[in-house]
Every structure is written in C-alpha cells, then in structure tokens.
Symmetry: C2
C-alpha cells in the first residue's frame, strides 16, 4: 500500500481490516505522518513501514521499536517497498511523487491497483509501455475508470464504439460566465456528491478533473481519442459507460464511496464485500444527463487538445493546472483564469519546444518542472489582479 495514510489508503485498509484472514499487509508507506503510519502498520501487522520524508526516519524507528515491523525511509525506501513480493500493489501516492514507486511495482510485474493520476496523465506513454513490457495487470481505482474496466472486461478492442465518462458538472454547473468570474475558492470547494481534497474539488469545479480522466482513459483502454466522451450527470450514479458495436451500452452504477472501486481492484475478477450504502434506484428516482458546456468550462477542451497532441502536452497541462489551482486557492487568480493560465502555459511550452515525446520518467519530471516555472512566470508577469 503506497500512500497508506491518504484517502485511498484509509479506504483500502478499512476493507482489508474487515477480512484480515484474506489479506496480508506487506508494506505501508506515508509521506510524513509518522504517528498515523505507525498506527496503521501495527494494526495491520505490516512487514515494513516506510516514511518518504527521510528526516522522520528516527521518529518512526522509535515509534515502532519492539514491534517487529521493519522501518525504512526516503525515495529508495519507497521503491524497496514497491518491489517487495506481493500479489497486489495499491498505488495510492498522489502527485509526481507516486511515479517512481508505482513504476517500480510495474517493472517487478506486480498487479497494480492504480490510484495515482500522474502515472497516466503525465507519463502515460512511458507508463503503459512499462505495463505492456512487464505483462502485468493494471486495475484502475478511480471510480470512472473502474466503471469502464468492469464493463469492458475481455471485450475485443474492435467491439468498442465509445467510452463515456460521466461527471457531476461540479458546483458551478448552472452558473453563468459572469458569475463564474467571481467564484470563490469556498464556493468551489462545495462539491455536490463527493467529499474530496481541495485540489481535486477545484478540478471538479473547472471540469479539469474530467479532462485529466479523459487522458487517463485514453491510455488505459483500447480506444482512440475521438471515441472518448464526457457526459454531465448531476446525480453521478452512473460512473461510466461503454458503447458496443451491436448497440449495447454497459454501465457501472454505485453510490459515491471509494471503497467500491477499491474492492473491485483488490478482488478482481472475484468480488469482495464492501460495506457501502447500496444503490436504490427508486430512492434516487431520477437521473439526468446533459452535454458539458465547453465554452464556460474551457479546461475540458484544453485537456482534450493535450490528449490529442500527446508527448509532453498532458504533463505540461497537469503541472500548469496545479500552479493555477494553488493560485486560485490563494486568491491570486480568478476562477476563469485557471484555464487561461493553463492555456497560456501550453502555448509558451509549445513555442519553447517543450512538448516533444516523453522518453523516460526523468524527462517527464523535467517537463513538469519547466511547466511549473512557465506558469509561475505567466502568473507573475501578467500581474493578474486578485479578484476577491
């Protein structure tokens, strides 16, 4: 379990803890939460606990002394944890920090349950090439991709006509452009269906989240970019659909609870219990569907262009978006300017020849860093007035 103290980690350990006779926890890692990591490692009898922040090594060592649990730290500790013999590696470290350990697990041929976005968004081509080479199985944990995975099963690529990801449309779905221009972080953080972290809540409000998911789906599933689509579905009961050449559409539905897709990834092709609220269609009563408004929510179109452009474009898009979201949360950027900053960064990166093919993880990390610098420059130069 890479990233044991985060939200995916917590949900995974909740499930694992309910059937300890079925699961054996090998390794648990965390960024810097020594106490939470030590507590998880003790409760689940992990073999090894790894703290990414090497300066916390002694604190963790001390906290677990006498427990019989090995302790390691730093980037090499994460890699070592990812490479330990195990039936499945849950890749739950978010951000670029997850790239190295997740790739290490793939290279060892481990079955990987993937909850890290950057592996596919920023390093999609390299990552999927490693998956193919290792002949390993990749199980997406994101609810939309898990939905596609479940109804795609063993379908031949030529059986598939389209893949449709659904999205709630975010808290600003019905807002007009002038109101969007004045939207505050507080308003953006009120997601209608899921309780999520701050970054992903803003991405959900801009629809960049759906855009990044399109890029992930493009790498995960055997379809071309123009076979991927997004439909706004405010109730977010249906998470994704696959359309087949015989007119059938298969879909997965579930109440919003990460434990469902996590359980799918842990047990596949079997099913395991997940103590989630069951879906009652009669209770729900109604489902709605509409086209996303790409005029008002330009992030979606930008992501689609980056997906079609390929190379380093998605990595640059993602990095610029992170800078923009942070600036928005810090009230240094207006809501509509998030997409604007991303677009300008992509243009600058293109002009500087930074959108070429990705050849290795270091190249991706370098592109990511360059994009952040470019985005910060734009932010500074344009002196975008604080809007709140």
């Amino acid at each position: 379990m890479l990233g044991a103290t985060g939200s995916v980690g917590g949900s995974t350990l909740d499930l694992v803890g309910r059937t300890p006779h079925v699961f054996k926890v090998v390794a648990l890692t965390a960024q810097r939460s020594v106490e939470a990591l030590a507590e998880c490692a003790s409760r689940h009898h992990a073999e090894v606990a790894v703290i990414a922040d090497a300066s916390q090594y002694n604190a963790l060592k001390e906290r677990l002394s006498g427990s019989g649990i090995e302790v390691a730290a730093g980037a090499s500790g994460l890699i070592e944890a990812a490479e330990r013999p195990a039936d499945c590696v849950m890749a739950g470290i978010s951000g670029a920090a997850g790239l190295g350990p997740t790739m290490a697990a793939v290279r060892q041929g481990r079955r990987v349950a993937l909850a890290n976005k950057e592996c596919l968004v920023s390093a999609g081509e390299i990552f999927m090439e490693a998956v193919r080479r290792a002949g390993t199985e990749l199980l997406p944990v994101d609810s939309e991709h898990s939905a596609v995975f479940q109804v795609l099963a063993t379908a031949e690529p030529d059986a598939i006509e389209r893949i449709i990801l659904t999205g709630s449309g975010g808290p600003f779905r019905t807002w007009a452009t002038d109101r969007l221009a004045r939207a505050t972080p507080e308003e953006a953080l009120r997601h209608p269906n899921w309780s999520m972290g701050r970054k992903i809540s803003i991405d959900s409000a801009t629809l960049m989240n759906k855009g990044l998911e399109l890029i992930e789906a493009y790498h995960l599933f055997p379809v071309e970019a123009d076979q991927l689509d997004v439909v706004v579905h405010p109730q977010q009961i249906i998470h994704a659909l696959v359309a087949y050449r015989d007119g059938s559409m298969l879909a997965q539905l579930a109440c919003p609870d990460m434990r469902t897709p996590i359980a799918v990834s842990l047990a596949w092709p079997m099913r395991m219990d997940a103590p989630t609220k069951r879906l009652d269609l009669v209770d729900i009563g109604q489902m709605n569907f509409e086209r996303p408004n790409e005029q008002r929510f330009q992030a979606l179109g930008l992501a689609r262009q980056a997906m079609q452009r390929g190379g380093m474009a998605p990595a640059v898009l993602n990095a610029a978006n992170e800078v923009a979201v942070e600036a928005f949360l810090g009230k240094r950027l207006g809501f509509l300017q998030i997409a604007q900053l991303v677009a300008e960064t992509l243009e600058l990166a293109e002009a500087k020849g930074l959108l070429g093919e990705a050849t290795d993880l270091d190249g991706v990390l370098a592109a990511d860093a360059s994009a952040r610098r470019l985005a910060l420059n734009v932010l500074r130069k344009e002196r975008l007035p604080p809007v709140h």
Copy 2:
C-alpha cells in the same frame, strides 16, 4: 432458426443477411406461412425449410422445387431441424409449440439463443436440468435477460446480491383503479416504447410480462427468488441491472430494438455490428425509476408467488393468463379481471393437486391443458359480464 417468419426470426435474418460471409443458414422453420418461409429459405440459401403445419407440406415442396432446398413438415420435421449440426440454434418459436424443438436442440448440445418464454416459464426446472446435463450454453434473447447476461458474464454466484429487471410500467402506469376497470383492449395495445404483438402488449399492460420475466430470470441466473426485483423505468433505456456485493451495479442500456440482444446472442463473447439507433444519453436527458404498484397490477405478485411455489404453478399461471388475455381481447373480460381469473385458476389447480413437481415435458403440456380448461370453466361459470 426455429420460427423464421416471426418477429425474432425477421430480426435475426436481417442481421444474418448483412454478413452472409460470416453466417451460414442451416434450417428455417415456420408455422404455416409457406410463402414467407420459402422466400427466406431461398434468400438465405438454407439447407432445409420446415413447415410445422403438415398440411402445407406439398405447397412448400412445390414452391421450393428446383431450388435444391430440402423440405420437411410437422413436429418431427421441427425436431429434425433443431437437431441438424449447427453452431447455434435460434429458438424463436413462441408458445408451447416451441418446447419440443428447443429441448431437442439443447439435448444435442447445441448453443441455444432462447427467445421462447415457455421453456423457462412453464418448463423451467426440466429445461434447465437438460441444459446442465448437455453442458450447453444458453443465451437469452429477451432484452431484459440479455442485459443481465451481458453484465453477469463470469461472475461467481456468491458475488451477486440482486438482479433487477426494469419495465416501462405499461400504458396504464399512472391510471387509477377505477379507470383500469374500464380499460379497453385498444388502450392496452398502445405500448409506450416497443411495437409488439397483441398478447405481449396486454401482458405489458398488466405487468404479467414482468412477472413471467422474473420466473425466467429465476431459472436462468444463479439467484434465489428473493434476490430478484422489478423497477419501473418508463423510458426503458436501462433493461436490467446486477448488484454485486461490493456495491457495484452493472447495467445494460440500449434503444428498444430486438436486433441488439439478438446480435449479442449470435456473436457472444464477441460483438457483431447491429444497425440499430445508438443511445444518446444527452438526447434522452432524463431517466426515471419508481416502484411497481402491485395493488393495481396484481399479476406481478401472482407471478412472484408462482415462482416461489415452483412445480407446475408457473405453467398454470401462464396458461390461465393466455386464456384471460384472449378473453380480454375478445371483450369477454375486464382488464382487472385478467389477474383475477389467473388467481382463481391457480387456487382451483392447487385444490385439485395440479401444482406438483414437473417431471417431463408431457407433464408440463398436460398441466398447461388442464389449466386452460379450468380457466375457461371459471370464465363460463362466473358469467363475467362483458364490460365494453
């Protein structure tokens, strides 16, 4: 193709005719439409054409003379057609007449695409025992059961929590009881989504159709009676759903066109083209779900009871319903009296000890005949006044 000139036959041959290099038609059968059968047999280069009505043998023989197509007739001709070497037998003869030929195909170990209701409703236990014994594959063609089949795939029985069949609710979904009492055959024949035969349209209006489908699902899929449910979904876009123990629900959606489930059954586990209207969720815009009203539509509860009762109860239910629907169409019975006649027939049959275990097809056919006599007796004795 058993039943080549009916609605399932027509749709099947439409699909087959589009890829003649993939399909070879072995045998075609029809009840009595010599001209239509001869035309199909010639167009699809069948090896043999069989007319069930033996008195039409010479007419068919003459019509196909010189074509090189063999001609046969009668019950034995149907059985012989069903037993011919073939990769798949499409069992599209409706009613009790389909039992013998479909069972013959199963016993030969043929993969059977099943579009006959009686095999499962009236003879479910016997039929499924024959399927198990022959180790053959059964592919349901009914849109609801095809939907379940597609999202059940290779799931272990203990992975499944519930199976939900959807229904439009019929043309009288919103009608109050007093209005239902005066409903005419003309009104009942106006089905909101599908253009269907008269019998099935009435069954759709009473919800008996959904009840019979529950019984079919009970035999087809590895669930107990209390794991089966019906949800009213007026748009009938989602045809069925399977709920799994991890909180996932998988569903199949499609525009109402029999060619989709037929294509699924012909190509499974591959997919083949079907020239059907594609589903556009944004066009549809909205889906609704409600609980069926079993007070107003008592046929559903009767079917559920017969399913739980087992033995000959479903066969008796089905036979009594056919008598009742015919009487309703002939304006000799009111709409609400359809369920009433079925309920009274079941009670009489129970009292006469006619609901015991089914041991063979002849026993089922005898129960069917007895139930029809009982139902006609009730109809006559009670002198139910013509209501229109």
